[in-house]
Symmetry: C2
Subunit: 301 residues, 2 copies
């Protein structure tokens, strides 16, 4: 079995080095692992590949790979890998992101609820203002809506619920998740938005989700609610957020409708906002978690 | 039954207004509640007080209160209320702080683990550096030591464990807390310090705890460990932290050995530090949680 890897990435946590593959070599002693650093390097050897582990896979690579039966990508979304037009090759997305993203999301919820932007300014000014959090309420006694209840959303819902908060999951199917997590369908969103102290977007990028959180939905939120986007940037247009900013309490955005967010975006200047560089899954554990998933699948083959 | 309150405070979240007492009036219709705004106001009426709810109670107030049988204070520590020298009056400290402090502590652990100081600078500079967290590991896979396992420490241990982290509680008694939380005694501290990624101080203020986290213990921590002080400032002297800073990864201090921390303290300038103004329990819920405790006790009487 020949496994070929195209797992270079400019984000260091996502850039698989030779040492990362030692767990794969150990777990699959009969496999040969070819690590590539560039497209041309891969395509020159692609004819022998049974399995490809990759960040990118454009449709025009498939003809180079007659023996290929499985493409596995760490990406949770289908942004960079195109399915086999001939329908012959299995395409497997990483399913390990929930543990990473949920920790980042809980961190963001507590960051905003705990008034960290104001506390940071107080710290930067060497201040000791003990009244910045006077109106802060326990997150454990608040309501968090999670919009987008795929596998990542369900793990996030579980983690937020573990903090004690009331959690309402919103999805197309409204499929139940757990006894202590409410599940509702998108057409009921307007009913619950006014109840939520925190509204989390975890939607995948697609034309369906474009501008999902439109001005009407933003204005249906409870006045002073906090908004979080940890899915894809297309679901929340920057200008809509700016237009509705007076209605909201703050926002924590890990993604933006244009990335990197342009330096002249009005978002940077909003009061009580935090923006991180699409880094909710940037953990050193990322590479190991993906390769553990690869091993589990290939050992099951 | 006459309940007298001396619950004014310059911290707004701790300053009990008339409306806060409506729950008390409703729950205890036979009690008379006298809310005082100043010491002279209270002492003029103290002769009739059966119960006093107070922030301060100097020993020389007791002779003014012949009928007094119970003093209840929201404070967790014995910093501001002196016990009755005659030993006649019960002194009850608030026991509700765990829910508040544990949320603040979890917020701080995730803040440091998630490299928020670096992410904040990146945000302030309108940057999009996705490599700031390249070495970040899931908190869920790390070890957290909690030094000081009183009622607050035990609730914090539970909450941190809920995030998935391995938790080691350190106390004089080493009394077991739960099957999934290790309990060790202080004399074993040197054995576990090198294992911990995060070291949390939750010690009460007393001469026993003064400079508990001394340079020898700071240097016994794992290189790059994060330190948190959410107990009392006397346990960690500023100069000791500065002297050992090269050994540590960062720190989040909610208390300091001098409060407010002086503007010329060298702590403000350390790289990868966050300092909050002794605000780990500053929540709007504070007053309600204390009065719920008062009601529970007095209804049980």
């Amino acid at each position: 079995m020949e496994i070929h890897t195209c797992l270079w990435n400019e984000v260091k946590a996502f850039d698989f080095g030779d040492a990362d593959f030692s767990c794969l070599r150990e777990a699959l002693p009969d496999a040969t692992i070819h690590r590539h650093d560039a497209e041309t390097d891969f395509l020159a050897k692609a004819a022998d590949a049974d399995i490809v582990l990759t960040w990118d896979f454009p449709a025009n690579w498939y003809p180079y790979c007659p023996k290929l039966h499985t493409v596995m990508t760490p990406a949770a979304g289908n942004d960079w890998v195109e399915p086999d037009p001939a329908g012959r090759v299995d395409l497997i997305h990483g399913a390990f992101h929930g543990a990473l993203l949920s920790e980042s999301l809980v961190s963001a919820l507590l960051f905003m609820n705990h008034r960290m932007p104001a506390l940071w300014h107080n710290f930067a000014e060497r201040g000791w203002d003990r009244n910045l959090q006077a109106r802060t309420r326990l997150l454990a006694e608040q309501t968090v809506i999670i919009i987008g209840m795929g596998s990542i959303g369900r793990i996030c819902a579980r983690q937020v619920r573990n903090l004690g908060a009331k959690v309402i999951g919103v999805s197309r199917s409204a499929e139940p998740v757990a006894d202590d997590i409410a599940s509702i369908s998108v057409d009921q969103l307007y009913r619950v938005l006014p109840e939520a102290d925190h509204v989390v977007l975890l939607l995948p990028g697609s034309t369906d989700t474009d501008r999902f959180m439109n001005p009407a939905r933003l204005r249906a939120c409870k006045p002073g609610a906090y908004l979080y986007n940890f899915g894809r940037g297309n679901a929340l247009h920057s200008q809509d957020l700016v237009d509705c900013w007076d209605h909201l309490g703050g926002a924590f955005l890990d993604v933006a409708d244009e990335e990197p967010l342009p330096r002249d975006s009005p978002l940077w200047q909003l009061d009580n906002i935090m923006i991180t560089p699409h880094s909710s899954c940037v953990y050193d554990d990322y590479r190991r978690l993906f390769l553990e998933e690869v091993i589990n699948r290939l050992k099951g083959d």
